[in-house]
């Protein structure tokens, strides 16, 4: 075998000459001896002989490739169309798949991620107690109980994620942080890149004094210098020793955002049973399945929730707490807010790009079919010259593969652009999304698989048919191009109808998402959005005694109010529209229910432009010593007071830890506004004076209305506070742009659905143009005869446009049905818009019709100028 291979290699260069010389000699000898030995076909002998000595498969492939390249270059328009379609389709699909893969499918880059399990309350805690941090799943006492009962786990840890401010008060930088208990790195199987990682010894009473940083943070912010005793950071005002660096591949537990600093989870001075601020994860022991671990946790639950029950809740809530059950959930892919928020968007985008790819494939099929019909003659000639079917088919497959290969490469390049666009679309000013978008084999396989399938299918299917035809008849009919291809033309029309239908659906989707985004941006939440600066003031380090918190807060409020340019300022316990929520159970007489509660300073409604409808505002005479009062919104009145006059009625809150049952007199009613988001119904809301807040804390959120820019206001506030009250940390931002940040999902959908909708329409236009042009080409003689017999240009154009109308109409009917069906999957993502919005449908239909008419008018006009003598010359 090897000998043969080597022989072939050595001899191949001289082979052809040798063969010819030998055959010539043979012929000479026969002539000399006048011996007519049967000669046979000399070329065929040569070919046979050569084939023996060469690698026919490989060399044919090479020749086919060159031939295919040449053939494709000869029709550049078709090449550009095909590659454009393929590249866009594959690129869009790959980009979204890449994202889906990164956000949803890929496992954490740690040791045996499939063994990781998260411990959570089955069904969640349904808004009980106080929630703190990004993944508030369990309380500290529950974690301590779990730590003592960790049979199913070889290691278990608690963690929380939030942001910290790094640096001096004058120059704070907000950085994502994670707090973990001692077993964290051991359970995750992570080794230090440099220095050492945290262990159980680092745990202690708050605040901690050690931390490790991510590789990226170490490189970019710490200059990549080796960590040592002098490597420290000021974390939330506490000097912290950096003891090590995590490896580059480590991204923490949450996909989409990287924790740059990891601190030990310290023990707060008081372990509150009503604060949910940690999540718990463990590595299952060998032999323990998720199910078995869940059963174990279930059996543990009753006792566990009995011993950790917070005191001070109403008996109803206490009872609900005691009925909680724990379960183990797979955590192999980590956790992700991104996943929670954009899961459905990403899947929908995947569907959309799938449809774009479908249209692209239909285009490609159309182009290849058109090409096949013009090549009937070529195929016939080649098969008449003795090319085997095998060879012809091989040639077409190679051509398809070449197209697919180049298209896939283009798609991969475009995918990088698209996925960066999507990430850019998801990122906000101060929260950039970090996703590992490595080209892995899955993405590659996915992409090239789609490309190859499309091309081969549509290169070979028409070819097979062509090959079954007799060469002689094929050559005759190909010359005229009138009788063949009925079947193919049906296929092509079907493809175009499908394209029109799908692109109508995509256009409808695009319009829906764009309009939905516009609705969201222009939506009036019932309060002022622009010109509002949000400022967070924190003074735990200002050495204020807790009983003076309220006075100090009033002082801070007055100081900010006195800044020139500040029109109004108010404090609030919950900044609206930014996602926070605060709820209490209430009773009014015999009516029982839930209401949002916010404690605000008197100027709150003036600052936010919220109109008073009845009664009075909260004012300075409502003090901690006077009667507890509250204002409610219209929904509250409607739901709990059956629209009777609410002023003067009493409401009682249910007890919660730190918030004993309190009786409030309703003194005023405000107009309905949105609560913590633009989406969703307005809930019943109540507002009480900040002076009567039962649980003072060393923090304050301010809403500042000013005509000056947010940056100016914020820096003025920082300057003033720093001068008067050193030790108070001020952070903040623009209210409106934070609200807009909450719309990134909608913005992304509008952007991408719009983009893909346009692409789809463009591709459909190319497809329609191709089919009409092909129809005209195959009917040239007919049109020529018609013109010769006296048909006017208008009649010819009318005839062809009639054909186009037929296709368009069928496509639009099918597309309307399709969009109504598909619209339902998008309804959850739409804001203030029904998926079967007639206006949208009409606009999309009109748009597509216009595009299609242009696409068919161009070739129709050209057809009307056919010169009958030229067209009929071939007949």
């Amino acid at each position: 075998m090897i000998r043969r291979f080597l022989l072939k290699l050595i001899r191949r260069r001289r082979l052809e000459q040798d063969l010819e010389a030998e055959l010539a000699f043979h012929r000479q000898m026969s002539d000399q001896h006048r011996n007519p030995i049967l000669l046979g076909n000399a070329t065929s002998i040569k070919e046979q002989g050569l084939d023996l000595w060469r690698f026919p498969l490989l060399e044919n492939l090479g020749r086919d490739l060159i031939y295919a390249g040449r053939g494709l270059r000869r029709s550049p328009a078709m090449l550009v169309c095909a590659l454009f379609s393929l590249g866009l389709g594959i690129g869009a699909n790959t980009a979204v798949f890449q994202l889906l893969d990164a956000v949803r499918l890929r496992t954490l880059p740690v040791y045996k991620p499939q063994e990781l399990a998260a411990v959570r309350i089955v069904g969640g805690d349904r808004g009980m107690g106080i929630h703190n941090g990004e993944y508030p799943e369990l309380t500290r006492p529950i974690w301590h109980e779990l730590k003592n009962h960790q049979e199913p786990f070889s290691g278990i840890f608690a963690w929380r994620a939030s942001r910290v401010n790094i640096g001096e008060d004058s120059d704070l930088r907000s950085v994502r942080a994670m707090w973990v208990t001692g077993d964290f790195f051991h359970v995750m199987g992570i080794q230090a890149w440099s220095g050492q990682l945290l262990s159980a010894e680092d745990e202690g009473v708050c605040p901690g004094s050690t931390a490790v940083v991510s590789y990226a943070y170490w490189r970019n912010e710490l200059g990549g210098a080796p960590v040592g005793r002098s490597t420290t950071l000021l974390v939330d005002g506490v000097r912290t020793q950096i003891v090590g660096v995590t490896p580059p591949h480590f991204i923490g537990l949450s996909i989409g955002d990287r924790s740059d600093i990891i601190l030990p989870l310290c023990r707060p001075k008081e372990l509150r049973r009503d604060i949910f601020d940690v999540a718990v994860m463990g590595r299952l022991r060998p032999g323990w399945s998720l199910r078995r671990a869940s059963e174990y946790l279930q059996s543990l639950s009753s006792g566990l929730f009995q011993t950790t029950v917070p005191s001070g809740f109403s008996s109803q809530l206490t009872h609900r707490y005691q009925r909680f059950r724990l379960g183990a959930f797979s955590a192999s892919a980590g956790v992700s807010l991104l996943r929670k928020q954009y899961d459905s968007s990403l899947w929908l985008l995947f569907g959309i790009t799938g449809l774009v790819l479908l249209i692209a494939c239909a285009n490609l099929a159309n182009l290849l079919l058109a090409r096949a019909s013009t090549r009937d003659r070529e195929m016939a000639v080649r098969s008449a010259l003795g090319a085997s079917r095998h060879r012809l088919l091989g040639q077409l497959v190679v051509e398809g593969m070449l197209l697919a290969g180049v298209g896939a490469l283009l798609g991969l390049a475009l995918a990088q652009v698209f996925s960066r666009l999507i990430i850019w679309g998801l990122s906000t000013e101060d929260n950039s999304v970090v996703l590992p978008l490595a080209m892995d084999w899955r993405v590659l396989l996915f992409t090239s698989g789609i490309a190859a399938l499309t091309c081969i299918a549509f290169a070979v299917v028409p070819a097979k048919r062509a090959m079954n035809a007799e060469p002689a008849s094929a050559m005759k009919s190909a010359a005229r191009g009138t009788t063949t291809g009925h079947e193919r033309s049906y296929l092509r029309r079907g493809l175009v109808v499908m394209q029109i239908a799908v692109s109508l659906t995509l256009l409808v989707g695009a319009l829906l998402f764009v309009r939905s985004f516009r609705n969201l941006v222009t939506f009036d939440p019932g309060m002022r959005e622009s010109g509002i600066t949000v400022a967070f003031l924190a003074f735990p380090r200002a050495h204020i005694a807790p009983d003076r918190y309220k006075d100090f807060q009033r002082q801070l409020l007055d100081d900010v109010q006195s800044i020139p340019g500040v029109l109004n300022v108010a404090s609030t316990t919950n900044v609206p529209l930014l996602g926070g929520s605060w709820e209490h159970g209430i009773r009014i007489g015999s009516v029982q229910g839930l209401s949002k509660f916010t404690w605000v300073s008197p100027d709150y409604f003036k600052t936010m432009g919220i109109r008073l409808i009845a009664g009075r505002n909260i004012n300075r005479s409502d003090t901690s010593g006077s009667q507890r009062v509250a204002m409610v919104n219209q929904t509250f009145v409607h739901r709990y007071l059956s629209d009777t006059n609410p002023v003067g009625q009493m409401l009682r809150t249910d007890p919660e830890p730190g918030y004993p049952s309190t009786l409030y007199r309703i003194v005023g009613v405000i107009r309905d506004t949105k609560y913590n988001s633009l989406r969703g119904e307005t809930p019943p809301m109540a507002f009480a004076p900040a002076s009567q807040f039962p649980d003072p804390w060393p923090f304050m959120s301010l809403l500042i209305h000013s005509n000056a820019s947010v940056t100016e206001v914020l820096s003025a506030v920082k300057r003033t506070i720093a001068r008067k009250h050193p030790g108070v940390v001020v952070t903040g931002g623009d209210f409106q742009s934070w609200i807009r940040d909450g719309m990134v999902g909608e913005r992304l959908m509008a952007m991408l659905a719009g983009l893909f909708g346009l692409i789809a329409a463009l591709l459909a236009m190319v497809g329609l143009y191709g089919v009409i042009a092909y129809l005209i080409a195959s009917r040239r003689p007919e049109i020529g005869i018609r013109i010769a017999l006296g048909a006017t240009r208008g009649q010819i154009i009318g005839m062809i446009m009639g054909e186009a109308w037929g296709l368009l109409f069928t496509g639009i009917v099918a597309g309307t049905i399709l969009s109504l069906i598909a619209g339902r999957s998008a309804s959850a993502l739409l804001f203030d818009l029904k998926p079967y919005d007639p206006l949208t449908l009409v606009v999309a239909t009109l748009g597509l019709t216009a595009i299609s008419l242009i696409a068919s008018f161009i070739p129709a006009r050209r057809a009307s100028t056919i010169d009958p003598t030229v067209a009929l010359r071939y007949e």
């Binding site: 022989l7 010389a21 000699f25 000479q28 000898m29 011996n35 002998i45 023996l52 000595w53």
Partner: protein, 110 residues
């Protein structure tokens, strides 16, 4: 085309005949065809179309080797020589052929 008048070579026997012819010494392609023609009392005619492919195949298999040399009339010609491997092959195939033809004879005799 009068093919039926000419006894055609049985599949596989051409290799045997070529190797047999070469046992007498190195020959070029035309001489091989002639030898077979003469030795068969002018019954068998080897076509170029099957001769050369067979030669190349045998060469690739290592049963024969080829070398350019001068022919009896001073022309460049390619001479084929049987190898040790070829000699073994010829004796094996002869035995097979003998058994086969004897069997065919026996069948036809009854």
């Amino acid at each position: 085309m009068g093919k039926s008048a000419q006894p055609t070579l049985l599949q596989g026997t051409l290799d045997l005949l070529i190797l047999h012819a070469l046992q007498r010494g190195a020959l070029h392609g035309y001489a091989i065809a002639q030898t077979i023609h003469l030795l068969s009392d002018e019954v068998l005619r080897v076509e170029e179309g099957s001769l050369y492919p067979a030669l190349y195949r045998l060469e690739l298999d290592g049963a024969i080797t080829a070398q350019w040399g001068l022919s009896e009339n001073n022309r460049k010609a390619k001479y084929y020589t049987i190898t040790r491997r070829g000699k073994k092959l010829v004796s094996d195939q002869e035995a097979i052929w003998n058994r086969l033809s004897a069997a065919v004879q026996r069948v036809l005799a009854r």
